[in-house]
C-alpha cells in the first residue's frame, strides 16, 4: 500500500536507523535528505548511507534512491538487489564533499574522488585514466568563469 516507501525499509542492514517510517505514524521521520553535487549542482532528495543489498555492497556510504523508473518490487520479504536502486553519488574520499556519479564530476579509482581533487592530485593517477575528467572539469571552469 505504500508505493513510495523505499524498499530498503524491509532490509535490516541497510538504513535501519532511518527506515522507521511507517504510514500512519504520528511522527514520520523523514529519511530523505537533500543531495547536491558540489560541482554540477545537481539536486535531488534521496537517502544516504551504506547500501548493502543481496548481490553486494558499496564500500562507503552513498547517496541513493529507489529506482524511480521501475515499479517497486512487490516482494517485500526478499532482500532487494542493486537493480532496485539508483545511485546518485557519494562523498569525495579526499574532501568529503558530495559529488554525483557523472563522468565530469567524479572518478572512482579505488575510492571516490571529485574532479577538483583529481585535478589537484593529478600526478598520482594514471594519466590515461584522468584525461577525460580533467578536460571536462577544465571546460566547465572555463564556462563558468
Amino acid at each position: 500500500m505504500s508505493d513510495e516507501q523505499p524498499s530498503t525499509s524491509s532490509s535490516k542492514d541497510s538504513i535501519t536507523e532511518k527506515s522507521s517510517e511507517k504510514p500512519g505514524d504520528e511522527q514520520m521521520i523523514d529519511p530523505f535528505i537533500d543531495f547536491e553535487c558540489h560541482i554540477c549542482k545537481m539536486k535531488e532528495k534521496c537517502l544516504f548511507g551504506e547500501l548493502k543489498v543481496a548481490d553486494g555492497s558499496y564500500d562507503s556510504p552513498v547517496y541513493f534512491m529507489r529506482d524511480p523508473f521501475k515499479p517497486p518490487s512487490r516482494d517485500r520479504i526478499k532482500k532487494p538487489f542493486l537493480d532496485e536502486f539508483l545511485i546518485l553519488g557519494a562523498p569525495c574520499s579526499v574532501c568529503s564533499q558530495p559529488v554525483c556519479m557523472s563522468d565530469g564530476c567524479s572518478l572512482f579509482f579505488g575510492a571516490n574522488f571529485c574532479a577538483p581533487c583529481v585535478s589537484r592530485e593529478r600526478r598520482r593517477f594514471p594519466s590515461q585514466l584522468i584525461r577525460g575528467i580533467i578536460t571536462k572539469s577544465e571546460a566547465k571552469q572555463h564556462n563558468t568563469v
Binding site: 513510495e4 529506482d67 524511480p68 515499479p71 539508483l86 554525483c100 579509482f109 575510492a111 585514466l129
Partner: protein
C-alpha cells in the same frame, strides 16, 4: 601477462553465465503469452549481452591478452587510497560479497578466467547503474532548459507576497508541467491544478509524477469523472474544471486546497470563465489561498484587466523553426454551391506524396492532419489508407473524442523504423493531446464548433474557419521535437481574414445549465449581474432562464431568481436538468433501476459504435435489441443483455463486438448508474441499501469481496505500470485494424476466468448476484411498467417534444421530419432506433380527416444541427401524453385542446375528451403529490394509484381506441404565459404547485393527508356536480362500492339486530 583463448572462454562461459546471471525461477526465457518479457528478464538479458560484448571486444581488440590480474588482494594503495596499479577492478564501485572467491561448483574454471568474468559482470552492473543515472541527468537537463525554468524562484517568491499570480507562456514553455512542481518543491501540499480536458489531467499527472520521480506513488494524482489516483499522500491534484466547480457546491471555500492553479484559461471555456469569477471572489474570503492563472500570451490583457495588480510572469514559448507552406485548395474558394459538399481527400494525399518525395524514409518524423469533423477524418483516412497500403511507408491513425480510449491511445505508440505515422485529428490535438515526434502538420484550416442558436433551442455543429490563434497553435505542433513544416491548405489572404481568437464559449453556447449551477451555489449569485470576465449576451442568458422555468426548476412567479423545490433537488444532482428530473421522478414511481440506466445512457455516447452503422451484418444482427418505443428502451434492452452476458455467460466481449457495441460505454453506464444511485442516496431520495441487501453481513461474502478487491488492486497497479511502456505499431495495421490484436487477445482471455481484466473484475465486484438479478428482472419491462417509464422520461425531457409532419410518410429510408416548438422541420436522426428499425411505429395511418388512434409525438434528448437539424435520443409517445407534462393546456370546447400554445388535439367526441382530461388531471395530481412527498422526505406516498391511472389512460388509447387529430401551431409564442389548465368557461385550474404542497407538507405534516383527501373529495364532488361530465372511473367504482354497501345493508342490519 595473462591470456585467454576463445576456446577456453567458450568452454566455460555457459557455467559462468549460469552462475552470475541465473534465470529467474519460474519464468521461461520466451516471456509470456504476448511474447513480452518481464522487466527482470529483460534486465538479465541486457547484462548477458553486455558481458558477451565485453569478451568479444577483448578478443578482437586485445587479442585475448591483458596485464590485469583482476585480484584486489594484490593491489597496493597510497595515502589517499589511490591504487598503485591500473587494474580494472579498481574502477568498480559496487562489489559482490564474495568477490574473488570461487565457488566450489566452479572449481574447474581457471581462477583468472573466473575473476575476469566476475569483473565483466561488475562492469555490466555498473553500466546499468550509469545508464539510470544518465536518464535522470537527462531529465533534469531537459527541465532546466525549459524557458520557464529561469523564472522558477521568481514565481515562488512572487507567490509569497501576492495572492494572485498570472503566468503567461506559449506552447513549449513548460508551464503546465513545471509550475506545479515548483510549488511542491516550495513546500505547498494542497495544490489543485485544473484542466479543461480529462485527457490532459491524466497525461499531466503522469508526466509530473515521472519528473518528480514519483511515478509509482500517489503524491501527484489526477481526478476525473470516474477515476482518481488520489490518496492521502496526494499533494498535487490535476482535476477537470467541472469537478472543481462541483467541489465548490459542497465546500464553497475549497478548504482542502491552499493553491489553485487554473490552467489554459485563455481557452475561455464556460466553466473556466465561471471559476475565474468565483475564485476572484473567493480570494477575498480566504486570504491564505493562492491563485495562479496560467494562459497563453494571446489575450493576456483580458486577464490582467480582470485581476488588477496581480503580477504577471511572461515566458516565451519554445519551438523549433517551422516552415509554413501555403497550398490553397480549390474546394475552399468556391464553397458557396451547396451545403452538402464533401471533403476532397486528394490534396491531403498529395502532401503525403510530397513528403515522401522530399524526405528520405530514414529521417524520422510523423505527420498530423487537422480536419474539422469525424466524417471528414473517416473519408480522408480511407483514401490515405489505400496509398499507405501501396507504399508501406505510412500508418494511418485517427484521433477524435468518439473513439474508445484504447483507440485513442494508439496515436502515442511509435511507428517502426522507416515508417511514419499519419494522425488525422480534430482540434483535440491542437491543445489537449500532445503527440511527440510530429514533424509535418497539414492544416485544413477548418474546425467544427457547436454553437447554440438563440431562439431555436438548437445546438448547431457548424464548420468554421479557425482563428489565427488556433492556426498558429496547429502550426506549433510541428516544432516540438525538431524543426518542422506546416502545410496550410488555404491561402495567406485567407489567413489574414481569419479572426484573431476563437470565440469564447460563453458567447457560443446555451447558458441554462451554467445559470442553474450559479444559482444553486447559494452564494446569492445572479448570472445577469455576475461580474464575468466577459459579459454574456443578455438575450441568451434570458433564454436560458426561460428554459429553466419551462423545466420547472426555476420559479416563474418571482423576480429574484429562486429555485423551485424540484429545482433545488435537481441542482444537487450533478447532471443535466432532464436527467436529474428523470432520476427524481424515477424515485417517485419506484422505477429507479430502469431510470438509472436510461439517464446514464443519456449522459454518455450511444453504445453503438459509429463504425457499426455502416456494417450491414451488424445492423441486422442487433435488430432484435432495438425497441419500437425508442432509443431509451433500446438502451435498456442492450444494457440488460450485456449484464447477463457479463455475469452468466462470460462472453460479453464477443457479444459486444458482434453487435457493434463499444463495451467501454457500457462500463461507463454501469459506473454512472452506481454514481447516480449514490447521488440519490446522498440527497435522501432513496434509502441506502442495508447490509443484508448488499450481502455485507455475510462473512463468507465479505471474504470473497476482500479477495476480489485485492485482486482488483493488484491488477490495476500492474496495468498502470504496464501502460508506461511505449509500444511499437504494426506497420500493416491502420486505424481500422489497430485493435485486432487486442480483440483477439481479449477473446482468448475471456475463455479463462482467471485472466479477467480490470474492468471485468471491477464490474463483477460491484454487481453481486443480487444486483444482476435485479437488473435482469427490472429491465425486462412489462407493458404496464413501460407506460409509467415513458411518462417519466417525457416529464424529464419536457419541453423537448416534437410534432410529426402530416404529409411525411414514415417508412424505411425516408427522411423523417418532426417539428419542435422553436425549430420546424428537424429530422429524426437516422441512427436512432426509430429511424433505423421501426419507422412504421410512428406512422399514424390517419384517415383523410386526420383522425387516428395512433398519433404519436416524439420526445427527444438533443436537437443537434450538423448537415441537417436532427433530433437525437428519440422516444415517441402517444400524443395524449403531452397533456401529462405540459405547462399550459387550453380546453377550447370539450373537443379541442391546445397544449403549450403549440400542439392542438382534436377529439371526436366530448366524452372522449372529458374522460381523457379527467385521467390526465388525476395523473398530474398524483405525480405532483408524489414529487412533493419525495422532496420533503415523506414516505406516505404510494405510486400504486399513479400507475393505475397511467394504465387506465393507456387503455383508453389502446383498447377504447380514442381517435384524435393533431395540428401544429406554426408560430408558437417563445415565452409561455398563463400557465395552468384553462377550462372553456374561462376558469384556470392552476393545479396544486409542487412548492405549495412541499410547504404544506413541511408546515403541518400531521394534518396534510386529511387535507389532501378532503381536497380529493372536493374535486370528485365538483366533477359529479358537472352534468356534462361523464362518470369517472373513481365515481363508477365508488358507486359500485356504494351499491355493494347497499346490498350489504341487510346483512349489517341483521347483525345489528342480532346485537341489539
Amino acid at each position: 601477462m595473462y591470456s585467454l583463448t576463445q576456446d577456453e572462454y567458450e568452454k566455460h562461459r555457459g557455467a559462468l553465465f549460469r552462475h552470475f546471471l541465473p534465470d529467474e525461477p519460474g519464468t521461461s526465457r520466451d516471456g509470456n503469452r504476448r511474447g513480452e518479457k518481464t522487466a527482470a528478464q529483460e534486465l538479465t538479458e541486457t547484462k548477458r549481452k553486455s558481458i558477451q560484448s565485453y569478451f568479444n571486444r577483448f578478443f578482437r581488440e586485445r587479442k585475448g591478452e591483458t596485464n590485469d590480474h583482476f585480484d584486489l588482494n594484490r593491489v597496493k594503495y597510497d595515502d589517499l587510497g589511490i591504487p598503485q596499479d591500473a587494474g580494472g577492478l579498481n574502477r568498480i564501485r559496487f562489489k559482490g560479497e564474495n568477490l574473488g572467491i570461487i565457488p566450489t561448483q566452479l572449481n574447474h574454471v581457471p581462477p583468472w578466467l573466473y575473476r575476469h568474468f566476475e569483473y565483466a559482470y561488475h562492469v555490466a552492473l555498473q553500466f546499468n547503474q550509469h545508464q539510470k543515472f544518465q536518464k535522470l541527468q537527462k531529465l533534469r537537463k531537459l527541465q532546466k532548459e525549459l524557458p520557464i525554468a529561469e523564472r522558477a524562484t521568481e514565481i515562488v517568491e512572487l507567490l509569497k507576497t501576492n495572492q494572485v499570480l498570472i503566468v503567461a507562456g506559449d506552447t513549449g514553455c513548460g508551464k503546465s508541467t513545471q509550475v506545479p512542481q515548483y510549488l511542491l518543491k516550495a513546500g505547498y501540499t494542497g495544490v489543485a491544478c485544473t484542466q479543461p480536458r480529462r485527457i490532459a489531467c491524466t497525461a499531466l499527472a503522469r508526466r509530473v509524477a515521472f519528473e518528480t520521480l514519483n511515478q509509482y506513488g500517489s503524491e501527484v494524482a489526477f481526478q476525473i469523472r470516474f477515476e482518481t489516483t488520489k490518496s492521502q499522500r496526494t499533494k498535487l491534484l490535476f482535476l477537470t474544471e467541472g469537478l472543481l466547480l462541483r467541489q465548490m457546491e459542497k465546500d464553497s471555500l475549497l478548504e482542502k486546497y491552499n493553491v489553485i492553479i487554473l490552467d489554459e484559461v485563455h481557452e475561455r471555456h464556460l466553466t473556466s470563465d465561471l471559476l475565474i469569477g468565483l475564485l476572484r471572489d473567493l480570494c477575498t474570503k480566504r486570504e491564505d489561498l493562492k491563485l495562479i492563472l496560467m494562459s497563453a500570451t494571446i489575450n493576456l490583457d483580458l486577464f490582467k484587466g480582470y485581476f488588477e495588480g496581480a503580477p504577471v510572469v511572461q515566458v516565451p514559448g519554445r519551438l523549433f523553426p517551422i516552415d509554413v507552406r501555403w497550398h490553397p485548395i480549390k474546394q475552399f474558394i468556391d464553397q458557396s454551391e451547396k451545403k452538402t459538399h464533401k471533403i476532397d481527400p486528394e490534396p491531403y494525399l498529395r502532401i503525403l506524396e510530397l513528403i515522401d518525395k522530399q524526405f528520405p524514409s530514414t529521417q524520422r518524423g510523423d505527420a498530423l492532419i487537422f480536419l474539422n469533423g469525424v466524417a471528414e477524418i473517416s473519408m480522408v483516412a480511407e483514401h490515405l489508407k489505400n496509398y499507405a497500403e501501396q507504399t508501406n511507408g505510412w500508418i494511418i491513425l485517427m484521433l477524435h473524442s468518439t473513439l474508445s480510449v484504447e483507440e485513442q491511445d494508439k496515436v502515442f505508440d511509435q511507428a517502426p523504423q522507416g515508417v511514419r505515422k499519419c494522425i488525422l485529428s480534430t482540434n483535440v490535438a491542437e491543445t489537449s493531446v500532445t503527440i511527440d515526434g510530429i514533424r509535418f502538420v497539414i492544416d485544413s484550416g477548418k474546425v467544427n464548433l457547436i454553437k447554440h442558436e438563440p431562439g431555436t433551442g438548437t445546438q448547431k455543429l457548424t464548420e468554421f474557419w479557425v482563428s489565427k490563434a488556433s492556426a498558429n497553435q496547429r502550426k506549433g505542433r510541428a516544432g516540438r521535437t525538431g524543426p518542422g513544416i506546416c502545410y496550410r491548405l488555404y491561402s495567406q489572404e485567407q489567413f489574414e481574414k481569419m479572426e484573431d481568437f476563437t470565440q469564447s464559449e460563453i458567447n457560443r453556447v446555451s447558458l441554462q445549465e451554467m445559470s442553474l449551477k450559479m444559482i444553486s451555489l447559494n452564494l446569492g449569485l445572479d448570472p445577469r449581474t455576475f461580474p464575468f470576465i466577459e459579459k454574456p449576451s443578455e438575450d441568451v442568458l434570458n433564454e436560458g432562464l426561460e428554459t429553466l422555468k419551462f423545466q420547472r426548476v426555476l420559479r416563474s412567479d418571482r423576480d429574484i431568481l429562486t429555485l423551485t423545490a424540484l429545482g433545488n433537488m435537481v441542482s444537487k444532482l450533478p447532471v443535466d436538468v432532464p436527467i436529474a428530473k428523470m432520476l427524481v421522478y424515477g424515485c417517485v414511481v419506484d422505477e429507479l433501476e430502469v431510470m438509472l440506466t436510461v439517464s446514464a445512457g443519456l449522459s454518455v455516447q450511444s453504445p453503438f459504435t459509429n463504425r457499426s452503422y455502416r456494417e450491414l451484418e451488424i445492423v441486422e444482427k442487433r435488430a432484435s435489441l432495438t425497441s419500437p418505443m425508442g432509443d431509451p428502451f433500446t438502451l435498456i434492452a442492450v444494457f440488460r443483455e450485456w449484464v447477463l452476458q457479463k455475469a452468466f455467460e462470460g462472453t460479453a466481449r464477443r457479444w459486444t463486438m458482434e453487435n457493434g457495441i463499444d463495451e467501454h460505454r457500457l462500463y461507463e453506464i454501469s459506473k454512472l448508474r452506481s454514481q447516480y444511485r449514490q447521488i440519490l442516496e446522498d440527497a435522501g431520495l432513496v434509502e441506502k441499501a442495508s447490509a443484508a441487501e448488499t450481502g455485507e453481513d455475510d462473512s463468507r461474502q465479505r471474504r470473497i469481496d476482500q479477495g476480489e478487491k485485492r485482486k482488483l488492486f493488484d491488477l490495476k497497479r500492474s496495468q498502470r505500470n504496464n501502460d508506461r511502456r511505449q509500444k511499437v505499431l504494426n506497420a500493416n495495421k491502420h486505424f481500422d485494424k489497430i485493435l485486432e490484436d487486442k480483440e483477439e487477445e481479449d477473446l482468448e482471455a475471456e475463455k479463462d476466468p482467471l485472466k479477467a481484466d480490470v474492468k471485468t473484475v471491477e464490474f463483477l465486484l460491484s454487481h453481486k448476484q443480487r444486483d444482476v438479478e435485479t437488473i435482469r428482472k427490472t429491465h425486462k419491462i412489462s407493458r404496464r411498467t413501460a407506460e409509467v417509464v415513458r411518462v417519466i422520461i417525457s416529464a424529464g425531457l419536457y419541453p423537448n417534444f416534437s410534432i410529426l409532419d402530416p404529409v411525411n410518410k414514415y417508412g424505411y429510408g425516408q427522411e423523417m421530419f418532426a417539428h419542435t416548438r422553436l425549430k420546424p422541420f428537424t429530422q429524426i436522426h437516422p441512427n436512432s432506433s426509430i429511424a433505423q428499425y421501426h419507422p412504421e411505429s410512428i406512422d399514424p395511418r390517419q384517415s383523410s380527416d386526420g383522425f387516428s388512434r395512433l398519433h404519436q409525438i416524439p420526445f427527444y434528448g438533443l436537437l443537434l444541427e450538423t448537415t441537417k437539424p436532427y433530433i437525437c435520443n428519440v422516444m415517441p409517445v402517444p400524443a395524449i401524453y403531452s397533456l401529462l407534462v405540459a405547462q399550459k393546456i387550453v380546453i377550447e370546447d370539450w373537443k379541442e385542446l391546445i397544449v403549450d400554445d403549440f400542439l392542438e388535439l382534436k377529439f371526436k367526441s366530448t366524452e372522449d375528451c372529458r374522460s381523457v382530461i379527467l385521467d390526465v388531471k388525476e395523473i398530474r395530481y398524483e405525480l405532483t403529490k408524489g414529487l412533493a412527498s419525495k422532496l420533503v422526505g415523506e414516505d406516505g406516498f404510494s405510486s400504486r394509484r399513479l400507475t393505475k391511472y397511467i394504465d387506465l389512460l393507456n387503455q383508453s388509447i389502446v383498447e377504447k381506441g380514442i381517435k384524435l387529430a393533431i395540428k401544429r401551431n406554426v408560430h408558437p409564442p417563445k415565452v409561455l404565459t398563463g400557465i395552468g389548465i384553462h377550462s372553456p368557461d374561462g376558469g384556470i385550474d392552476k393545479e396544486e404547485d409542487v412548492d405549495d404542497l412541499v410547504q404544506r407538507f413541511e408546515k403541518n405534516q400531521p394534518d396534510d393527508r386529511d387535507d389532501v383527501e378532503a381536497e380529493e373529495q372536493k374535486v370528485m364532488e365538483e366533477l359529479r356536480a358537472d352534468i356534462m361530465c361523464p362518470p369517472t372511473r373513481d365515481m363508477v367504482e365508488e358507486e359500485e362500492k356504494m351499491e355493494k354497501k347497499k346490498k350489504e345493508v341487510p346483512k349489517e342490519s341483521y347483525y345489528e339486530k342480532n346485537q341489539s
